[in-house]
């Protein structure tokens, strides 16, 4: 029984014609085909989310709870918000973001959706980028919803280019690794717990850089002081955006029921 379930996953690992045309060269047509395939997955995920409205709203409430809990835990006065604010914001976003990331592949497990996805005649990196784009859109939507509340709570200048750029770079970084790890975690026994255990240590550079850069821009420091932090964030993003699609291909061959 288990062996027969496993069969399709094995069968589709042979090269498929469409995948080969895609890999043939980065000319305009294949790039457009690639983006079209990615969009099909993103579109599906967005539509599912708009119908269910589960992930973004639940993680938004969770992010608010983290902000409120911080207030109870540290009893922050108004003038203490400056030093504590960036940390509060990033811990809330990282934890709530991981809650959402858990769903990226976990929801595909229902009714064998994952097998369907893996059977698509597309390159495996299409699935990675599709899932990454979907997760990125949900996490950014979560941030857009959290920021106004955070601004009200802390009275900090959130809606300025500095914090927003840091937010974008940091989110791309942890979602890039997070999507890869979500695929792994969704196919292990202790799913929900495993993702934070895997992701948080690896995301240390993102958290350190993002918190410091956000703090500097809240203090009104010039871009030159933010530059080293933005550099680390950009390097993290670049390294894992290159590495993850290849690693996802390796992971994808073992996805699905055991």
């Amino acid at each position: 029984m288990l062996e027969t379930l496993k069969k399709p996953t094995v069968a589709i690992s042979v090269p498929r014609p469409e995948a080969q045309t895609l890999a043939a060269g980065p000319d305009g047509r294949s790039l457009r085909a690639f983006l079209g395939q990615v969009w099909a997955i993103v579109n599906k995920d967005i539509r599912a989310e708009l119908r269910g409205k589960e992930v973004v709203s639940a993680s938004w409430v969770f992010a608010l709870l983290v902000l409120v809990v911080f207030n109870f835990a540290f009893d922050l006065e108004r003038e203490e918000m400056g030093p504590a604010g960036p940390g509060m914001l990033w811990v809330a976003i990282l934890l709530a973001g991981m809650l959402g990331l858990n769903h990226v592949f976990a929801k595909e497990r229902e009714q064998s959706c994952l097998e369907g996805l893996l059977l698509c005649p597309v390159d495996r990196s299409v699935i990675y980028f599709g899932k990454l784009a979907g997760a990125l859109i949900f996490t950014l939507a979560l941030e857009v919803a959290v920021l106004p509340v955070f601004a009200v709570f802390t009275n900090l200048p959130v809606f300025t280019p500095g914090p927003l750029l840091v937010l974008l770079l940091g989110t791309v970084g942890f979602v890039a690794v997070g999507t890869l790890f979500a695929a792994i975690a969704a196919n292990a026994k202790t799913r929900e717990v495993l993702l934070p255990i895997l992701l948080l240590p690896v995301a240390t550079p993102v958290l350190v850089s993002a918190v410091n850069a956000t703090g500097l821009s809240f203090d009104g420091k010039p871009w030159s002081e933010l530059a080293p932090w933005l550099g680390i964030l950009a390097a993290f993003d670049a390294i894992y955006l290159v590495l993850s699609p290849w690693l996802f291909e390796q992971v994808a061959q073992e996805l699905g029921p055991e």
Partner: protein, 239 residues
């Protein structure tokens, strides 16, 4: 019955083999020499006194841990390339030993920090990076324990091992940048080493590396035996 045959023949690397005995002998000999050099040969440090002698064990463990985690990366890459589970056995063994040596690094560092810095723990860049490293490979081992199916476990572990090692330099850079911007309360290792100390350190490094190689050999041959048993069970239709 030899089910897993191939270049890594068990009789060559297994317990009781010539390589095994040679390595054990060398580890014991160099280990005793390193102990003598650390405790007797190396001079007493002027400001810190005898406490400084833990430095040889501390640096040796730290170097070995990093080497072990590099081997996890190599084992992971080789597994993804060849799908030969003996590479996965190598990566697993190295990760376990690496976590042990990282723990030794943190513990000896902490014991040294109490008299030298006045606190068991400071969030110094190197301490922080080592702690993150420890957590990354602890999570690697936790991941392995949550997956039963061997191919899946090997593949996922290889991916996490690669992501983890690539992360190490970025972690170190970000934490160092963080600590240079904030005031540094205590500077670590502000002393020049006498030549005898350098020799003692080199002996410690060699001893630790040999110990690592020996433990790796024992642990991988154990893991490979496990693979053989599994394959044998499959051959007789046990599964």
């Amino acid at each position: 019955m030899r089910v897993v045959a191939g270049p890594w023949n068990l009789s060559l690397t297994g317990a009781g083999s010539r390589l095994h005995r040679t390595l054990l002998g060398a580890t014991l000999a160099i280990g005793l020499l390193a102990l003598y050099m650390a405790f007797v040969y190396a001079p007493k440090e002027a400001t810190m006194g005898h406490v400084q002698r833990i430095f040889y064990f501390h640096v040796g463990a730290a170097w070995t841990a990093l080497l072990a985690f590099f081997v996890v990366l190599v084992g992971g890459l080789a597994y993804l390339r060849t799908r030969d589970r003996r590479w996965d056995a190598l990566a697993l063994s190295s990760a376990e030993i690496g976590v042990v040596f990282t723990t030794i690094t943190l513990a000896t560092g902490s014991i040294w920090a109490k008299p030298a810095w006045g606190a068991w723990w400071t969030w110094d860049p190197r301490v922080t990076t080592t702690t993150v490293l420890w957590l990354i490979y602890i999570s690697y081992l936790i991941l392995r324990s949550t997956i039963d199916e061997p191919e899946r476990r090997a593949r996922f572990a290889a991916v996490v091992g690669i992501v983890g090692f690539v992360d190490v330099p970025i972690v170190f850079l970000s934490i160092r940048l963080w600590r240079t911007i904030h005031p540094v309360l205590v500077k670590s290792e502000g002393f020049d080493m006498a030549p005898e100390m350098v020799y003692a350190l080199l002996a410690a490094l060699l001893a630790y590396t040999l110990l690592y190689a020996y433990l790796l050999l024992v642990r991988t041959s154990l893991e490979r035996r496990r693979l053989e048993v599994e394959a044998a069970k499959r051959a007789i239709g046990f599964y």
